[in-house]
C-alpha cells in the first residue's frame, strides 16, 4: 500500500526520488557534529516563521492597537505566553545559532574557492537575521521598544550623506518615531525580510548542495559517506536540543510587557536588545567627533571584512587545528564582543519600571485627579447610593447615564440635606465641591472608577485630599507647582524612602519646605500605595 502511494507520487511529482536524492548526498568522511549548525539555524528560522504567523493572527499592527493586542495575547489567549515566549526567545536563540554556524564555517575555512558565493549569501543571511531582531523590537510599542528604536534611527541618521535618506526609508524623518516608522518596521518584519530570507536560504542551500560539504584536508583519498542516516541523525539530535532549550526558555524565563510607549517620557533609559549592546557600548567609548567612527565606519568596515574573508584567505585547505589565525581572530572577536557587552550591562542602571506594567488592564482611576477619586469616597461615605444606584434609577436619577445638569448651588444644598429622611451630610465645603465636580463633569474614566471603586486607592486619595497635598504638589494635572510633581514617583523612589520622607522631609530632601506628616500605619500604607500607583 505504501509502495502504491509512493509510486503514484513519484510518477506525478517526482517527490520521493527528490527526497531520496537529497538524503543520498555524499558528504566527506570527516563530516560530523560541527556540521549540524546550519540545519539548526534553518529550523530556528522555521520556528520563528511559524510562531510569527501565529502571533500575527492576533496582533493589531498599528501603534494604537499593538500594545493592547499583546496584552490580549498574554492574558486572554490560552498558550499565548508560550507562543510569544517561543518567538521572543527564539529570536535570541536563532542569533546565537547563526553566529555559531558562521564561526564554525570560518574556523574550518569552508568559505574557500569555489564556496565564496555561499559565504557571501551566508553573510547576507546574518544581516537579515539581525534586521529581523531590530524590526521586531519595535512591535510591542512599549517604552523599551519606542525609545530603543528612537536611538537606533538617530544612529542611522549619522551616516554621512546618505543618513537623511536612510532615515526617510525607515520612516523616521524628524527627531521622533511614530506611525510611519511603525508601518515601515512592521512591513519589513513580516513582508520584506521574510521574502529576502526565503530567497537567500534557497540560494544558500542550492550553493551548499552544488559544491557539497567542505572536505577537510585529511579527507583526501578517503571515501565519502552518505548524509542519511548518521549525519541526519546528528542534525535531528541537535535540532531537538535546540527546541528543548527554547521551550525551557519560553516556559520559565520571565517575559512581561512594559507600559505603553510614552513619547513624552524623557527620563526613560533606552537600551537595544542584548545582541546589539556591543555596538551601543562602542558608541559610548567613541563620543563627540569620533561618533561617526563608532556608528558608521567601524560597523561597515566589519561587515566589509566579513564579506571579503574568502578573498583575503586564499590559501589551500589545512587541518582545523592548524588554522591558528582563524582561531585567534574568532577568539578575539568573541572576547571583544563579550567585553563590550559586559561593559554595556554593567553601566545600565537597574530598572525600577514594573516589568509587567503593560499586562495589567488599564485602570482609569490612576489617571484621575485625586480630588475626583476622593469624591467617589465621599459619595460612599455619605451613603448617597441609598438613592443613587449607578446603572439604574431608584429613588434618585441614575448618575451613570448622564452628568447632572443641576447648578452648583442646588447640588451643594442637596448634598447638605439630601432628603427629609436622610441625615445631614458630614462633608466639608471643599469635599462637597469635589462631589459637585464628580457629578457634573465626570468623564468615562471617573465613571469606570465610580462603578468599580478601588477602595484602597480611594482611601489614599481621601487622605491626599484631607491633608492638602495638592496645595504644593501636582498629581494627574491637579494641584500646585511649588513641589515636585508626584506622577511616576514609583520609578524614582522606593516605598521606604517615601514613608521616611513623610516623617522627616528635610532629612531626605535637603532644603525641603514640606512639613512633617504623621500617619497611623494603616493610613501611611494607604497614602503611600496610592501615590506610588500613579504612573507618569
Amino acid at each position: 500500500m505504501g509502495n502504491g502511494v509512493r509510486d503514484w507520487l513519484e510518477e506525478r511529482t517526482g517527490l520521493p526520488s527528490a527526497i531520496r536524492h537529497f538524503l543520498d548526498e555524499d558528504i566527506p568522511a570527516s563530516a560530523g557534529w560541527p556540521q549540524v549548525l546550519g540545519s539548526v539555524a534553518l529550523f530556528a528560522f522555521l520556528i520563528q516563521a511559524a510562531t510569527g504567523v501565529l502571533l500575527a493572527l492576533n496582533y493589531g499592527p498599528t501603534p494604537t492597537e499593538a500594545h493592547a493586542s499583546i496584552r490580549y495575547i498574554m492574558t486572554e489567549l490560552s498558550a499565548g505566553p508560550m507562543i510569544r515566549g517561543l518567538h521572543h526567545w527564539g529570536a535570541s536563540c536563532m542569533i546565537v545559532v547563526v553566529a555559531l554556524h558562521m564561526m564554525q564555517v570560518f574556523v574550518w575555512g569552508a568559505y574557500k574557492k569555489p564556496r565564496e558565493a555561499t559565504w557571501i549569501a551566508g553573510c547576507a543571511l546574518l544581516l537579515v537575521t539581525l534586521a529581523f531582531g531590530l524590526t521586531g523590537y519595535l512591535l510591542p510599542w512599549d517604552n523599551k521598544a519606542y525609545w530603543g528604536t528612537t536611538v537606533t534611527t538617530q544612529i542611522v541618521g549619522l551616516a554621512p550623506g546618505v543618513g537623511v535618506y536612510l532615515k526617510r526609508l525607515l520612516g523616521a524623518e524628524n527627531d521622533s518615531i511614530g506611525t510611519l516608522t511603525f508601518a515601515r518596521f512592521y512591513s519589513a518584519h513580516v513582508v520584506v525580510l521574510p521574502i529576502a530570507t526565503l530567497l537567500l536560504i534557497g540560494l544558500h542551500l542550492y550553493l551548499v548542495r552544488r559544491h557539497g560539504v567542505t572536505p577537510a584536508a585529511e579527507d583526501a583519498g578517503k571515501p565519502t559517506k552518505k548524509f542519511y542516516p548518521e549525519q541526519m541523525f546528528k542534525d535531528s539530535v541537535a535540532t531537538f536540543c535546540y527546541v528543548l532549550v527554547l521551550v525551557l526558555f519560553a516556559n520559565f524565563a520571565k517575559l512581561g510587557l512594559g507600559s505603553l510607549a510614552d513619547p513624552t517620557d524623557t527620563r526613560y533609559i533606552p537600551r537595544p536588545e542584548w545582541y546589539f549592546l556591543f555596538l551601543f557600548e562602542t558608541l559610548k567609548l567613541l563620543q563627540g567627533p569620533l561618533e561617526v567612527l563608532g556608528a558608521v565606519v567601524l560597523p561597515n568596515l566589519g561587515i566589509l571584512a566579513l564579506l571579503l574573508v574568502p578573498f583575503l584567505d586564499r590559501g589551500r585547505a589545512i587541518r582545523v587545528r592548524q588554522r591558528t589565525v582563524a582561531i585567534a581572530l574568532t577568539a578575539f572577536a568573541v572576547i571583544g564582543w563579550a567585553g563590550l557587552t559586559e561593559g554595556a550591562l554593567a553601566t545600565t542602571p537597574p530598572s525600577m519600571e514594573d516589568p509587567d506594567a503593560g499586562l495589567r488592564p488599564p485602570q482609569p482611576w490612576r489617571e484621575l485627579p485625586p480630588e475626583q477619586l476622593a469624591a467617589i469616597g465621599y459619595f460612599e461615605r455619605d451613603n448617597c447610593a441609598r438613592c443613587h444606584v449607578l446603572g439604574r434609577s431608584v429613588s434618585g436619577p441614575d448618575l451613570a447615564k448622564d452628568p447632572s445638569a443641576k447648578p452648583a448651588d442646588w447640588l451643594l444644598d442637596h448634598f447638605t440635606k439630601p432628603s427629609l429622611e436622610a441625615p445631614n451630610s458630614r462633608l466639608t465645603a471643599a469635599q462637597k465641591k469635589s462631589l459637585v465636580t464628580l457629578v457634573t463633569k465626570r468623564d468615562d474614566r471617573a465613571l469606570d472608577a465610580w462603578e468599580n471603586p478601588p477602595e484602597e486607592a480611594i482611601a489614599g486619595a481621601m487622605l491626599y485630599d484631607a491633608r492638602g497635598c495638592g496645595f504644593c504638589h501636582t498629581l494627574n494635572g491637579s494641584g500646585a507647582k511649588m513641589a515636585p510633581i508626584l506622577n511616576g514617583l514609583a520609578a524614582r523612589r522606593t516605598r521606604t524612602w517615601v514613608a521616611q520622607h513623610f516623617a522627616d522631609p528635610p532629612k531626605l530632601s535637603p532644603n525641603s519646605e514640606m512639613p512633617a506628616y504623621k500617619f497611623n500605619p494603616q493610613d501611611l500604607k494607604a497614602i503611600t500605595d496610592y501615590v506610588m500607583a500613579i504612573p507618569k
Binding site: 527526497i19 529550523f43 492597537e65 486572554e76 447615564k401
Partner: protein, 164 residues
C-alpha cells in the same frame, strides 16, 4: 521509506526510528501549543454585567417598544461603549422580554408593523409574533432573546443572547 541496501539493516532502521521520533517530538512541541493557541476560547474578562434598559411602568402590555441604550462591548483587546437597540415587549405587570434586533435568519434588522401586528424583516420577509415565534418566512427559529430579569420594576438585560 528508503530501500535498505546497507550491510547493517538493524542499525540503519534504528537511526530511522530515532530520526522520526525526534522529528515528531519537536514538531509536537510546537504544534500542540499552536493548536491550543488557535482553537481554545479566549478568556473574556467580566463581560457579564447586566444593564438597565427600560422601566416597566413606561411600557404598555403587548405593545413592542424599540429601546435605545448604551452597553460596553468587549471586542478582542478593545472595550467600546456603544449605542444599540433592543425590542422590548411587556407581557405582564412584572415581566417583559427583550429581543435581539437582528433577524435569526441572516441578521438583518427587523421592525414592528402595527397594521400586521407582527415583526417583519425587510430582507426575506420573515414575520414574527409578539412572543417571537416565526409566523412566516425563512427564519429557522424564533426571535433571539437577551438574558434578562426584572428588578424593582426595571428591565435589565445582559449581552448574552438565548437562542430559542
Amino acid at each position: 521509506m528508503l530501500k535498505d541496501h546497507s550491510k547493517h539493516p538493524t542499525r540503519r532502521s534504528f537511526y530511522a526510528v530515532l530520526i522520526q521520533l525526534l522529528g515528531a517530538t519537536a514538531a509536537a512541541v510546537i504544534a500542540v501549543p499552536a493548536a491550543v493557541f488557535l482553537l481554545f476560547k479566549p478568556k473574556s474578562p467580566g463581560a457579564g454585567a447586566m444593564v438597565e434598559i427600560a422601566d416597566l411602568a413606561d411600557l404598555e402590555t403587548g405593545v413592542p417598544q424599540e429601546v435605545v441604550y448604551y452597553r460596553t462591548r468587549v471586542d478582542a483587546w478593545k472595550a467600546t461603549k456603544e449605542k444599540t437597540t433592543a425590542w422590548v415587549v411587556k407581557n405582564g405587570p412584572q415581566s417583559a422580554v427583550a429581543f435581539s434586533p437582528q433577524c435569526p435568519h441572516l441578521g438583518c434588522i427587523y421592525h414592528w408593523e402595527d397594521d400586521l401586528t407582527a415583526f417583519k424583516c425587510p430582507c426575506h420577509a420573515s414575520a414574527f409574533g409578539l412572543d417571537g415565534k416565526v409566523l412566516a418566512g425563512p427564519a429557522p427559529r424564533p426571535l433571539d432573546r437577551y438574558v434578562s430579569r426584572v428588578e424593582g420594576g426595571k428591565l435589565l438585560i445582559g449581552l448574552q443572547v438565548k437562542r430559542s
